[in-house]
C-alpha cells in the first residue's frame, strides 16, 4: 500500500512539475514580449507596415478634417525660412564656385523636413543637428551674418573659424555644434534626454540624422540606450535617399529606419517629410509623447536630396537622369507645395515671393561683403578652449608659434589676422 501511495505521490509531483514548468516558462525567458509556442519553424522578417503620415497633398490641398496647427503668422514665418534656406543655398554654392568660400553643403528639397520639424519643437529643447538642417537653424534664429562668418572662417564666427563651413551652433537657442564626424551625436542626445527626465523638465533632446548616418554604430547605440534608460529624446531621421553617392538600396535592407525603432520598443512614425503640415503635426505629437511618457520617439521623414551632397560632389555622376526633376515637379518640391497652400488661402502671392527672394538675396550678399572685410581671429585662438586653462605645454607651443611668426612675418599672410 505504501509503495502504491509512493507511486501516486511521484506521479502527482511529476504532473505538477510539468504544470509549474509551463507556467514558469514566462520567467524562464526574461526580456521578450510573448511566450506563445509553435510546433513548426516559423521565420518572421517584418515588424508590420508603416503608414506614411500625409496631410497636405502635392496640390497644396489639406486633407479633410485636418486643421492648420499653427497661426498664419507662423505659417508665413516657416515659409520664409524655407525660401531663405533655398536662396542662401544657391548664393553660397555660387560663392564656393567663385572661391570666396572653400566648401558648402546645401539643403535643397529638405526645407519642410527641417523647418517644420524645427518649428514643432519648443525653444528649450536641445537639438543636436547633423549638417543639412538650415531651415531648423533659421527658425531658431541663425543670422545671415553668422552663416557667412562661419563659412568664411573669420573672427565673427562663434567658433572663431576653427571648423569647416556650415558648422554652425546656436548656444542661446539650444542648438549644438554641427560637426563632421557622422552619427556620433545621435548617441549623445539620449544623455541629455535622460538628464531632462531626471530633473522632471518639460524638455526633450533631439538628434537629426540622415539615412546614411543611421547606419553608424552610434545610431544603434542611441536607440538602445534611449529606450532602455528611458530618455526624453526625439530622433529625427531625414531619409533623403542618398548618402553622398550611396543610394538607400546600398545602405540598408530593412524597411527604412523606422523599422529599427520597433526592435527597441520605441514608438515610431513615418512622415511625408515634404509636407509641412504632416511634419509639424507628426513631430509635435512625437514630442508630446516623448515628454509626457518620458521615453524616446523615432521619427522618419521621407524626403529627397535635390542638391549634391556638398560642393565637393557632382551627383549627376551617380543619379539616374531625370530623377531629380521627377522628385520636384508638380508641387512635389516642399517649397512649391506649401506655397500652393498659402496662395490658395490668399496669404501669399507672386509679388510677396519676388520681394522675399530679393530680400534674402540682398541679406546674403550684404553679409558676404561684410564678411570678406573681416579678419581671421588671431592664431592665439588655436590654443584657447583646448582646456579650461592653458596647460604648460600649450603655453610653450603658443609662445613658440608667435615667436616664429614674428621672425618670419614676410612668409605668412599676417595682415589677414586680427592684431598679428
Amino acid at each position: 500500500k505504501l509503495q502504491f501511495l509512493y507511486f501516486i505521490e511521484t506521479m502527482h509531483r511529476l504532473v505538477w512539475a510539468v504544470r509549474r514548468a509551463r507556467c514558469r516558462s514566462a520567467s524562464l525567458y526574461p526580456g521578450i514580449s510573448s511566450v506563445e509556442y509553435v510546433e513548426t519553424p516559423e521565420f518572421k522578417r517584418d515588424v508590420g507596415q508603416f503608414k506614411i503620415l500625409q496631410q497636405m497633398g502635392t496640390d497644396g490641398k489639406v486633407a479633410e478634417g485636418v486643421e492648420m496647427p499653427f497661426s498664419w503668422e507662423d505659417a508665413t514665418k516657416m515659409y520664409e525660412c524655407m525660401v531663405r534656406s533655398s536662396v542662401y543655398d544657391v548664393a553660397l554654392s555660387e560663392m564656393q564656385r567663385q572661391g570666396r568660400i572653400t566648401f558648402y553643403c546645401t539643403n535643397h528639397g529638405e526645407e519642410a523636413a527641417s523647418t517644420a520639424s524645427g518649428a514643432a519643437f519648443e525653444p528649450q529643447d536641445m537639438i543636436w543637428p547633423q549638417y543639412r538642417e538650415l531651415g531648423m537653424f533659421l527658425w531658431r534664429g541663425l543670422t545671415t551674418e553668422s552663416i557667412v562668418d562661419c563659412c568664411m572662417g573669420n573672427e565673427g564666427d562663434e567658433a572663431k573659424g576653427r571648423a569647416l563651413p556650415v558648422h554652425y551652433m546656436l548656444p542661446e537657442a539650444n542648438v549644438q555644434v554641427v560637426h563632421a564626424v557622422l552619427g556620433t551625436h545621435i548617441a549623445q542626445a539620449p544623455g541629455a534626454g535622460y538628464a531632462y527626465k531626471l530633473n522632471g523638465e518639460d524638455r526633450c533632446s533631439v538628434a537629426y540624422f540622415g539615412d546614411g548616418a543611421a547606419s553608424e554604430g552610434d545610431a544603434l547605440s542611441a536607440l538602445n540606450y534611449a529606450s532602455v534608460l528611458k530618455c526624453q529624446t526625439v530622433f529625427v531621421c531625414r531619409n533623403n535617399g542618398y548618402s553622398i553617392s550611396t543610394p538607400v538600396s546600398d545602405q540598408y535592407a530593412g524597411d527604412g529606419i523606422a523599422a529599427r525603432g520597433a526592435a527597441f520598443d520605441i514608438p515610431t512614425i513615418r512622415i511625408d517629410g515634404n509636407d509641412v503640415f504632416a511634419v509639424y503635426n507628426g513631430v509635435k505629437a512625437a514630442r508630446k509623447h516623448c515628454v509626457e511618457n518620458k521615453e524616446p520617439v523615432l521619427v522618419e521623414l521621407m524626403t529627397y536630396r535635390v542638391g549634391d551632397h556638398t560642393t565637393s560632389d557632382n551627383s549627376s555622376a551617380y543619379r539616374p537622369e531625370g530623377e531629380v526633376e521627377s522628385n520636384i515637379e508638380e508641387g512635389k518640391h516642399p517649397i512649391d507645395r506649401f506655397k500652393l497652400y498659402l496662395e490658395a488661402n490668399g496669404r501669399w502671392d507672386a509679388e510677396k515671393e519676388k520681394a522675399l527672394r530679393k530680400k534674402a538675396h540682398t541679406e546674403i550678399m550684404t553679409a558676404m561683403k561684410a564678411g570678406e572685410n573681416k579678419k581671421r581671429a588671431n592664431p592665439t585662438h588655436m590654443f584657447t578652449d583646448m582646456y579650461d586653462e592653458l596647460p604648460w605645454h600649450l603655453k610653450e607651443q603658443h609662445d613658440s608659434m608667435h615667436a616664429h611668426i614674428q621672425n618670419n612675418r614676410d612668409k605668412y599672410n599676417t595682415k589677414a589676422y586680427r592684431d598679428l
Binding site: 576653427r162 549644438q176 531632462y196 578652449d385
Partner: protein, 341 residues
C-alpha cells in the same frame, strides 16, 4: 608576483585615517563625490550591483537607480551618453569595464569628448566627465585584460590622463579629477585594487593633476614610471642601493597628460641618468615622449642615454607574463648598464 604593497603616503597630522586598499579608496571617494554633488551620476557595465571589481559597491543602494545604473554592453554608447549628460549640466563618472575594451569608444573620446569645448568655443564642454577603467597587468590577464592604453590617448589633444599607484593617490587624484573641469581618463591598475594598501585620510583632499611625486629621493639615477610600475621601481631601487651602491630617485608621474616636466627634468639634471619605464609596449609608448622631452631639456646634464624598460612590442601574453613585464631584474640590469656607460 604579488605582494602586499604599502603605498607611501603622507599623513595629515591632524585628521583621522583608515587603512584600506585601492578599491575601497575609490569606492569611498565616489560615494563622497555623489554626496557632494547631487547632479553627479555613475554608470557603466555591471556598475549597478557593485561592478566586476567591486568599486561601485553600495552606491546604488545609497543613491538610487536613477543615479547609479547599468548600461547596455556598448562602450561607444556609454561614452556618448556621458557626453550628453555633461552637456545637460551633470557630472559623470563613466566606467569602462576593462581598458582593453575602451576602443569602441575611441571615436567618441577622440572626436567628441576631446574636441567638444574647442569646437563649441567653450559654450559647452565635457569637463564634468571622468572615465574610469581598470588597466595593466594582473598576473593572468593575457591579451585582453592586461593592456595599458595611456599612450593611445596621450596623443589626443584635449584630454587629461591620470594613473594612481595606491589608495592614498587614488582618492586624492580622483577627487581632483572630479573637480577638474576638463575630461579626464582615470586608469586604475587593476592588480592594485587589492594589492595596494595604505593609510587614507578620512577627510576630503586632492592631489593636483599635473604634479608628479618623488617617491624616493636619490642622486645617481632617476626612474620615472606610474601605476604598478612604481612599486617595481622601488624594489629595483632597494636592490641597487644594497647590492650596487647606486642611489635611485623614483618618480611617480601620476598624471600622464599634462605631465610634470619640471619635477622630472629637475631630477634628471641632478642625477644625470634616467630610466623611463612602463608596462605598455615600448614603441610609441608614453616613455618615448618622456625620453624625447627629457633629452631635449637635459642634454648637457646627461651622463648616459636615457633607457626605456617597457613591455615588448608584442601582445600581452599569458604564458610569459613574467618576462614581458618591465620587472625588477630588468630595471636593475638597465640601471647597472646605465651607471657603467
Amino acid at each position: 608576483m604579488h605582494r602586499t604593497l604599502r603605498a607611501a603616503g603622507r599623513r595629515w597630522l591632524s585628521s583621522a585615517a583608515t587603512e584600506m586598499n585601492m578599491c575601497t579608496a575609490i569606492n569611498l571617494t565616489m560615494k563622497d563625490a555623489m554626496r557632494r554633488n547631487d547632479k553627479m551620476v555613475i554608470f557603466g557595465e555591471d556598475v549597478g550591483f557593485g561592478g566586476v571589481f567591486r568599486c561601485s559597491v553600495g552606491l546604488r543602494d545609497e543613491f538610487g537607480r536613477d543615479r547609479v545604473f547599468n548600461t547596455p554592453v556598448n562602450e561607444q554608447g556609454l561614452i556618448a551618453f556621458a557626453v550628453g549628460l555633461c552637456v545637460a549640466g551633470h557630472d559623470v563618472i563613466a566606467e569602462i569595464q576593462f581598458a582593453d575594451y575602451i576602443f569602441p569608444a575611441f571615436d567618441q573620446i577622440v572626436n567628441e569628448v576631446a574636441k567638444y569645448r574647442y569646437r563649441a568655443a567653450s559654450n559647452w564642454d565635457v569637463g564634468g566627465l571622468v572615465i574610469r577603467a581598470p588597466c595593466s597587468a594582473v598576473g593572468h590577464g593575457s591579451m585582453y585584460h592586461s593592456q595599458s592604453v595611456e599612450s593611445y590617448f596621450a596623443h589626443c589633444p584635449g584630454l587629461k590622463i591620470v594613473i594612481p599607484r595606491g589608495p592614498y593617490q587614488a582618492k586624492g587624484l580622483l577627487n581632483a579629477s572630479v573637480a577638474d573641469r576638463n575630461p579626464i581618463l582615470f586608469f586604475e591598475p587593476k592588480t592594485l585594487y587589492r594589492n595596494a594598501e595604505g593609510s587614507v585620510p578620512d577627510e576630503h583632499y586632492t592631489i593636483p593633476i599635473g604634479q608628479a611625486d618623488v617617491v624616493r629621493v636619490g642622486s645617481d639615477i632617476t626612474m620615472v614610471g606610474w601605476g604598478t610600475q612604481v612599486d617595481r621601481m622601488l624594489g629595483a631601487a632597494s636592490i641597487l642601493q644594497e647590492e650596487h651602491g647606486v642611489s635611485v630617485e623614483v618618480i611617480d608621474l601620476q598624471t600622464i597628460v599634462p605631465w610634470d616636466v619640471v619635477t622630472v627634468t629637475e631630477s634628471v639634471r641632478k642625477t644625470g641618468r634616467c630610466i623611463v619605464t612602463h608596462e605598455a609596449p615600448v614603441t610609441n609608448g608614453f616613455g618615448a615622449e618622456l625620453t624625447s622631452t627629457i633629452q631635449e631639456r637635459c642634454f648637457l646634464s646627461l651622463e648616459a642615454p636615457i633607457q626605456r624598460v617597457c613591455g615588448y612590442d608584442t601582445h600581452f601574453p599569458l604564458a610569459w607574463e613574467e618576462f614581458y613585464l618591465p620587472s625588477v631584474p630588468r630595471l636593475v640590469e638597465s640601471a647597472v648598464k646605465t651607471m657603467n656607460y
